[in-house]
Structure formats: C-alpha cells, structure tokens
Subunit: 491 residues, 2 copies
C-alpha cells in the first residue's frame, strides 16, 4: 500500500475543513435553530443528497446553461444530481407524499448543498443550509410567519434586534410595473430581475447599463444588456429607489393602477405588514423596493436578512457580506409534479455565513476546553503490572470512570511519549489539569493534580527563574475520593 | 415554468427520505454520541464531502475495480470523489496538518458518506457515519480506548450491556498464521481475508470453497477461489473456529511460534485485554478468532459491535442485521502522504443501522407532539380587522408570544381552511390543543381551549352519539392571563 511517491494531501478546490471552536459554535447554532423551528410548529424532514436531475431542475441565479452549476452523475437509468438547495427537493417530496401530509405542511430541514461553480476566495462549493417552508396555502399569514421565524431565529442565535433588518418586497410589484411598461417577454423579465439584483454591487449606473445595451466590467468582459428603452429604464431605476418604511397608513401611491399585478402585490404586502407590525419584529421587518432576489421561481413575497454591523475577515478587514438568509413565495414549483395546487413559501438561512458573523459577536465566544489527562508513567506498564507488587492498571480506569461519571472530559494518555511530552500534549489540548498517579501515589492511595489552568495564567506573568519554578509546581496531592471535587473547583 | 407533462416525483434509486419520530430519534442519538465522544477527550472535525479521488484511494471490501463503488466527478484539474468513509479523509487531513496537531490527535466526525453500489432492498447508497480515531500512536491503550468508547456510547444511546458484544481480533494473528502456512502473496492474503469475512453468511463450507477452487452461488454465478491447498484450508478453518474468551490467564497456545507476526498479534491482544478487562466493559469486549473485517487497510487490532437481540423489519420479520459499528488499527494509511510515521486506530458507528435497532428498544420511543394551534376565524381578518370595532390581529400574536415564551410549540393556523378543516389539521399534527379566539372571546378577554389530547383519548372509548357529543365538547374557557398555565397542565 505504501508507495515511494507520496501523495499531496490537498483539499479539493472550493472545499474546506472545519474544526475546534468554529465547529462547536456551528453545532450550537444548529441546535438552537432546530429547537426554534420546532417551537414555531415545523416538523423535521431529511431528503437525500442526490435527486433525479430532471426533478430538481435548475433555478439558480446567474446561470443560463441548463444543469450547469450542479454536480450531475450518470446513473443506470437517469442522471442524478447533488441538490443545490433544499427547496427543489422539498417540492419533489411534497409531490410524492401530497395525500399523506397535513395541509398546510410545515417542515424544516438542515442539510448540505453543493454548487459546481468556479471556486474563488471565500466562495465555496459546499455549504450548510437551514430551511423552513409552509406548503399548501396561499395565505399571506404564512409569509409573515416565516419572516418572523427568520427574525426570531437570528435573535435566538445571539444577534440583537439592532444587528439586522429583514428587507421585504413582492415580486408582483416589480413584474407589475414591468407589465405596465409593456415588458412582457419572460426572458426580458428574468434578465431585468437579475440586473436589479446586482444593484448592491454595481450601483444604479451598473444596473442602467445592464438594462440597456450592456456593460463592460473592469476586466473588459462585456455583458449583453436587456435592451430596454431609456424611458423604461428610467421608470425602473426610479421604482427601485423608492425604499420606504412600508407599514404606514397607506402604501406609496405613485404606481397605483399601473397594472392589476402591481395592485395585487401591494395588497399582499399590506396584508403581510398587517401581521408583522403586531409581532415582536415590527421594526426589523421593513419594505425595500430594490429587493428582487435572483432566483427565478419566486412568485410573491420575497425577503432577505441583512446584517447592520460590519463583518471582518481573518485579517480584520471589512468584507462584502451579503445576506445571512432569505426566502419568499414560490407558488408554481410543487405543481410541476401534479395537477393539485400547491402554493408555498419559505426561508433559508446560510449557516456558514451566519457562523462567520456570529464568531464576531462577543457573546458567542466558545472556549474549547480539553480533557483532564491522566498521565502514564511506564510505557508498557499495562503488560508489566501483573508481575509488580502494586496494581496500577485498574486504578487508572477507576480514576477515569470517576471523572467521566461526573461529566468531566477526561482520558488516559494514549500516546508513546515521556511525562514531559505528556505535559506538552495536555497543554496543546488546553487541558485544565493533568493527573499523576505513579508508584508512590498507588502505595499511598492518593493522586497528584497538576493545575494547568493556573499554570497557564501564571506563566503569562513569569519574570524570572524563581517564578518559573513556582509555576512548575502548581500542583497538589489529594485523596483519591476527593479527586472529583478538587477538579470541579478548578474548572 | 409549468409544463403540460408532469414530472414523476420519484427518489433517486438507493436513496430515502426520513421524517418525524425517526428523525427526532436520529438527532437525539447524534447529540448523545457527540457529547460522549467529547467526554472521552475527542475533538470535533468536519472534512468536506468531496476529496481529490487519488487522495482517498479506494479501500472498500468486495470491490476489485479501482474507483468503482464511489461517486467520482471530473473537475477542472483532478477527479474528485464523494467520500465513501470518514477514515480516508482523516488521513488526508492529518497529512496536511501534521505539524499543528497534538500527538496523539484524537478527533470525532459525524458525516454523510456515499457508496455507488447497486441498490437493493435495505441497501442504500448514502448513510451517516460517526467516527472517532486516535492518530499518531502505536500504543495499544488507544485501541482499548476506542473499543471502550464504542461500548460506552452504545450504552449511552440506550442499549443495555446484555444487548451487545464487541468482538475483537488482531489482523496480525490471521496473517501470521497465513505466513506460517507459507501464504505470502498479498493478493492471496487479502482474498483469504475477504473469504473468511463471509463466514457469517456462507458458513464454513462456503468459506472452504472460496479458499479452494471457488464457489457457485444459488444463481449459478461462479466466484473464483484463492487456490489454497487442502492442508492450508483445514488449518485456516480450524483457526477461525477457536472463538474463546481471550482474557484468561494465558492465550490459547495452539499456534504459538507459528510465525513472529502471529506472536506479535497475541502480545498486542494480551495488552489490549489487560486494559479492557479492568474497564466497565470486561464482559462485553470479547475475543473472536473468526473476526477479520473486509477492509484492506487494517494492520492490527480489529473489532466489531454485534447486537444480541433480533432486529425486525417493518413487517415484524427478523432481519440479517450485521454490525452497528466497528473499527481497528490502520498504521499505514496516513503515511501515504509523508515520511512521518502516523499509526492510527479508530471506530465507526453506522448511525442508520443503530437507528433501526434503537427504534425497537422500548425506552427509545419518541412521541412527536405537534404545536398548539391558534385557530383563525375569518379568512381575511388581518386585512379586515382595522375597520372593525374590536382588534383581533394583535391578540393572536400576543397569545402566540405567550405560548412560545413559555417554550410551548405553537402557531397561528396559516392555511386557508374552515374551523372544521383547522381541527382536522390540528389532529393530523398530533396537537395537544387548539385555541379559539373569536369575536366573543375578544370582547370578553378570554380564550377557549379545545383539549385535543383528552378528546383523542376519549374518542377511543366512544360508544354512542351521546359520548361523541361529550367528546366534542372537551373544552374550557379561561382568562387570557391563565392560558399558559392551563396549556401546561394539559401537556
């Protein structure tokens, strides 16, 4: 098996490893989120990573080639794909189990999704999403329910109410305006949406170019525009700059009557805000005319959670962060599978992004405390001890069992190193204490506890050799039966 | 988006959906396992689903074609594969981060793995594994540590000590015997191991054929044999039938001196049992000469957890269950990446199998209680209420907030149905109660609680129309401020 030429232990491009505190925080967030989703009456569901490619289609933004952006695999019968989100598989699930489900059907799912995109700095091809959806109702109360769930979950995860807003719009308002401007071609509509979706990054001028003849970026690459006329472009730019708080006495009347679709969108938004304004998140859930969301399948209410504090990268520089979550109504996705009407609405939280943001909040600092390490004196003691005049093997396991029964992380050192190496190991593991139990201790029925936590604190103040010696000796001997209490004091 | 031809909402072959109680139990088991792995001093690690194909190699049993059995994709630069276990990615991780890690390095990982095998009844292509490994030590104490961890974790998950055994052997014993029998060709050795690995299914006669000329199965398919001579076969069959409790005063002496490798294996086993026999799992961790494990990379101690109770399928029939977990020592896997010596040992729990087994233990019945449902009287009340002489919208959210603050799963009904449909919905969700708050209640500052739990219990005893009417009326009105206490009583 061992070959002369050694392999290079590289990660596949666009993928990362996670460990330590980051992973402990991730697990904690997932637990909080699941518990909150259950509190809101959502049931768990777990669909598999692979789906029949045709069933999940391809509704990603910025991708025009069919099935690019996903990992597809030719199976015996069909092409199968790794899911790129949790919504398309939900539609398949509902399609297959419609008659058995409660109406409405409320489910949450935590799962990995994959996108076969070009990796770049901070752009990964695998991430964890957390979704909650309500399927089988056109009731706008369900849209309000998931928006409130999104806000409430962010707070439960540790954000304060002033840390974020949830921007809300209705797809019908924008498409209604486009309809009023005689833009009815489906391709033009979706490309207009995608152009507006880039407003945050390109500004009004960039959007204007994309709506018109096209845009050349810094690298010289040219993106063909939608080809609208100047009057149409002016109206659209005007509309997306009317961001106002919406839950006033009446919605902005400037576009009333421009089309039936627009009026319907306004009616839905009014209904939506009639719910959210009496919830706890009146001030967090706000109207935003420039919010469009790039995903094609949305049909009504759309929303996006945006952080109001700056997120920094590892070098301490602000990063362009985007949203930590969002969602909306998609009334036609499930009905691809049958003739029943299955309108739906939901949210998705990008857990990896949320994790990055939460690591920067002070109240989320997790310290990864290592195990108490029971040191081992003789390398082959376990083989040797039967022939000795004292038994050391059994007491090691007795000590271990005492500690673990008390819920204290602990282990017998299982490496091959000397006592010095064992101390170095305990230090690297961030262990609170090491336990010494040798021939002496065995004969007297005592244990020696080396307080590594105190040692570490003291070592930051070491001035001279004398201090260092004191620090070396932060240890005490206690009776075996007092061990657990002494360790607990020290934790 | 909506096409005339409807899609068939089928699952990809070999994949399943999970939901409800099963998933709640799965989450609970994962939580218990993670907590226990931490208690034993293991740190969390999360490697990605994809690895560079060459890096994870292919060490699955029963597969001779290179890279079959895995899902591979041609990437820009390399072929990448979905991991088929968590051990090969760990080796890659250690290879990449060796200098930064504690020695030994103890990590656990919970993750999905995929195998591109022919699906069959009960054979899936995606499952969840839970692994714990100790890397960087040859100390047999580490083998004992992970075997004890496996036993302890099964008990924490809800098995009793009499529910399982952990069979243990050492690869060096078998290969030592083969060496003594002059079987030294690597291909012959691995094929002999794979033949013995089938003992449970094919019995001694089946193994004999596979070690000799070959075997024709029921379908008429012929598997070519290893081609050993009758004396060699006899000795091997003899050895694998010497299953005895090992931790006696001295190991069985029948093969002593057959080869240096065998003697080394016996020495390691003695050392191993010197540890486990003073642990809490003296009686669960037992020697088994017929245990070989089909995976090629093992080099020393091997073990496998076997359930002692019969596991039944959904039709109540006993199923051939196999092991819920196992593992062993693999001293050469990590060193494929560098010249350092990186011996390792670990365990893997098949979570999906454990889940099936745990669902059959009575103490693991999880009841999936639904949310308290706040019923909605008028379809468009939220639009309508501002014009009415009473406000109903705000109190709905107030009731909801009261319940949720008390940790009670609850929701405002978000569908489009009548009160009757809402009751049917609450029933389907297994809700403990429905809350009625209409014009009357709003004016009097009270709520009506419909006790669905009592209703359900009563309905099993319904004899006549009169009973039914009583049952329909298991409801009470309480002051708004008493609501939470009343609901708590009822839960």
């Amino acid at each position: 098996m061992v070959k002369d030429k050694k392999l290079k232990p590289e990660l596949a491009s666009g993928f990362i490893d996670r460990k330590g505190n980051e992973l402990i925080l991730k697990d904690r967030l997932i637990e909080i989120i699941k518990r909150n989703f259950q509190l809101f009456g959502f049931e768990p569901l777990e669909t598999p990573g692979f789906e029949i490619s045709e069933n999940i289609g391809k509704f990603l933004p910025d991708e025009d080639r069919p099935m690019s952006g996903v990992f597809g695999f030719k199976d015996d019968k069909d092409w199968i794909s790794l899911r790129y989100d949790l919504t398309a598989p939900l539609a398949r699930y509902v399609g297959a189990n419609f008659n058995d489900l409660s109406k409405p059907f409320k489910r949450y799912q935590v799962g990995t999704v994959w996108r076969n995109e070009k990796p770049g700095p901070g752009r990964f091809r695998e991430f964890t999403q957390v979704d909650a959806d309500v399927v089988g109702t056109k009731n706008i109360l369900a849209d309000a329910e998931v928006a409130i769930l999104l806000a409430d979950t962010l707070v439960k995860c540790g954000l304060s109410k002033s840390d974020f807003i949830i921007r809300v719009n209705n797809r019908k308002c924008l498409t209604g305006i486009l309809e009023g401007l005689k833009i009815k071609n489906e391709k033009q509509i979706i490309n207009t949406i995608r152009a507006i979706d880039k407003k945050d990054r390109l500004g009004d001028e960039g959007v204007k170019s994309l709506l018109g003849k096209g845009r050349k970026d810094e690298s010289g690459d040219f993106t063909k525009g939608v080809g609208l006329d100047p009057k149409q472009i002016k109206e659209i730019i005007n509309y997306i700059n009317t961001d106002i708080e919406f839950f006033r006495e009446a919605p902005d009347a400037s576009y009333d009557g421009i089309s039936k679709l627009y009026d319907e969108g306004i009616k839905e938004l009014t209904n939506f805000f009639n719910n959210t304004r009496v919830s706890e998140f009146r001030d967090q859930i706000v109207y935003s005319s420039s919010l469009v969301r790039g995903i094609e399948y949305y049909t009504g209410t759309i929303f996006e959670a945006e952080l109001l504090f700056k997120v920094k990268n590892k070098k301490g520089l602000d990063i362009e962060f985007g949203s930590v979550g969002g969602g909306g109504r998609y009334d036609n996705l499930v009905s691809r599978f049958f003739k029943n009407d299955a309108p739906a609405t939901g949210i998705s939280i990008g857990l990896d992004r949320l994790l990055v943001a939460m690591q920067q909040k002070e109240n989320n600092n997790v310290e990864n405390i290592g195990p108490v390490v029971i040191c081992v004196f003789e390398k082959n003691q376990f083989l040797a001890s039967p022939g000795k005049d004292y038994d050391i093997t059994a007491p090691y396991y007795k000590i271990l069992s005492m500690l673990r029964s008390a819920g204290i992380k602990s282990e017998i050192y299982s490496g091959d190193g000397s006592i010095k190496a064992q101390m170095k190991y305990a230090d690297k593991r961030n262990s609170p204490a090491a336990i010494l139990y040798g021939e002496n201790e065995a004969k007297l029925g005592i244990v020696t506890i080396k307080n590594l936590k105190a040692g570490k604190e003291a070592s930051t103040k070491i001035q001279n050799r004398e201090d260092w010696r004191k620090n070396e000796n932060i240890q005490e001997t206690v009776k075996l039966e007092d061990l657990v209490n002494e360790i607990k004091k020290l934790l």
